[in-house]
Symmetry: C2
Subunit: 330 residues, 2 copies
């Protein structure tokens, strides 16, 4: 920066101003400075900037879903909102591990973050404690019926699961299983909606819940079918906690010659891009993933700007009935 300043014949602070508060520098000087910046290939040092100004314009996004097909639309929303706001986005993968969450939170806290967006994995006390100490606004991607540490955005998972389960019942399915990779918070809420709906109908069977564990969803589909059929040979439908699970099960049914939707109904969750394109097309609960990113970051930026912001934002959901639950018989 000193080099740029010397080249133009001004003091470093003027260069700083030309870059950060252009309106405070005369136009002629500003142009000369920007030209010199180009020529010298000057790149500002963010560490020094953050140290001196005490803010980093860095927003951290922590999630276990960074490597999942759910995340790309969220990312598009985040990035569209970040564009032209001066905010830098930094993603970190927490891999369903509270230790990793705490470690990554420390990494962010050490950078004077402007905001933290975190996918609610589980209510680990260490993580909650850490979050409550955050030096910045925190938005949790989580079920909106949970009390957030600071702010929350998401949907009412139990209500969505209830809607989906009622749809399965309305199509005549009666022996309905539940399949998920793991019981993170949103999935737990989905299970709860599923369970209550079936209990109300008098047909809930706790043996028909299958968790695969592990990272890979689609290859686990075979184990899911084995497990559920062992518990109920007359199984006729599966409510899946994610579209990936539903897709894997669809493939596995095809492989075994089980006809979908007649012998087996399948319902997914969080409509992924491809779920409308499988054959048969997947019934699913669509959630506004793009908005999750866009509006989630918006909550942080509004808070920072001191503008009024709801603490909890319900994005709503939509059941999309397609072919995997459309019984021709009844």
């Amino acid at each position: 920066m000193t080099e740029v300043a010397q080249q133009v014949g001004v003091s470093p602070i003027t260069v700083s101003r030309a870059l950060n508060k252009p309106e405070k520098v005369s136009e002629a000087l500003r142009e000369a400075i920007l030209k010199a910046v180009e020529e010298t290939g000057y790149v500002p040092d963010f560490a020094a900037r953050a140290l001196a100004s005490r803010h980093s314009n860095l927003v951290g996004v922590l999630t276990s879903l960074l490597g999942s097909a759910i995340f790309p639309p969220v990312m598009r929303g985040l990035e569209d909102r970040a564009r032209d706001s001066g905010i830098r986005l930094q993603y970190a993968n927490t891999r369903y591990d509270p230790k990793e969450e705490i470690y990554q939170l420390k990494q962010f806290y050490g950078q004077n973050p402007t905001g933290i967006l975190i996918g609610g994995v589980q209510m680990d006390p260490g993580v909650m404690d850490m979050l409550s100490r955050a030096p910045c606004p925190v938005v949790q991607f989580i079920d909106i019926t949970m009390p957030p540490v600071d702010m929350a955005i998401g949907i009412n998972n139990a209500a969505a699961a209830t809607t989906a389960t009622q749809h399965l019942l309305s199509q005549g399915y009666r022996r309905i299983g539940f399949a998920a990779a793991r019981l993170d918070i949103p999935v737990r809420m989905r299970l709860s909606g599923f369970q209550h709906t079936l209990q109300d109908a008098g047909i809930f069977d706790p043996n028909l819940i299958f968790l695969t564990g592990g990272d890979t969803v689609i290859p686990a589909a075979s184990r899911v079918l084995d497990g559920l059929f062992a518990a109920a040979p007359d199984l006729d439908a599966i409510f899946c906690a994610t579209d990936e699970m539903a897709t894997g099960l669809l493939f596995e049914c095809q492989r075994r010659g089980i006809s979908v939707p007649d012998q087996m109904g399948l319902c997914g969750f969080t409509g992924l891009e491809f779920s409308g394109y499988t054959v048969p097309a997947l019934t699913t609960v669509q959630t506004p993933l793009y908005d999750l990113g866009f509006k989630g970051l918006d909550m942080v930026l509004r808070t920072r700007a001191g503008r009024p912001t709801p603490k909890i934002l319900d994005l709503g959901f939509q059941l999309i009935t397609r072919d995997t639950t459309r019984r021709t018989g009844g």
Copy 2:
């Protein structure tokens, strides 16, 4: 940090040492300091640390594939290599836009990065120029036959495509199309291998190349089939630049009642987790994605440590023949 130092009754520099070079501090003091760190909830300021020490332990990962199904295994490799190395990983999405690449590179350069890993999108001169000025080791995820700015890791895409195309020919397919979202570098090399193989066989038709453009691959499958069939009503196979494209085309063939593999052969590329589970299972070229991440970061860390490192690392590939090219007739 001063607070921690006062609580223990030492100078700040001793706290710094206890944290960064524990072996240089007596054990008693070290324990007392670590305890005080816990109690006070002290989190080091990375900006100050980077400013003073002139290194950030930050490795930037730039890619257009951050939101793609290809990336999760790469990410696992990166994170496994980063674990316990003190390295922080930061991902940025470049969205196939050279402007975005340059912007993100600037963001990283401003942080004294320890290394940059970048997915080679296209040889944009501005990006290349920027990369050649990098203040750290740079590893390009790219075709290994391209000269890298610094280091490169990947496969020989043309050779892999040649192998796959020869397989299609050996199965008796003759009117073979090529489908891709866009011609980034690796895909261009695949096209080149595809083209040369068909030219050698005397059956290359330049009209049978279809690019969808855009972000969404699977929904575009219908347009691909329309376009290719318009060019060649007797089309009998499609070599797809990615598994996602192949999966979309498989669904679309099923929808149209085109039997795969008999009426239409389909071959994908970069074996994703799910490609072995579609029905029929997808023939594809498997590439070692986990290693791409693990060994890519390893190249950076070896370079930093002054250990000998190849400039170009060929990870190899493997053709996996499955059902979408296994003609029962011939």
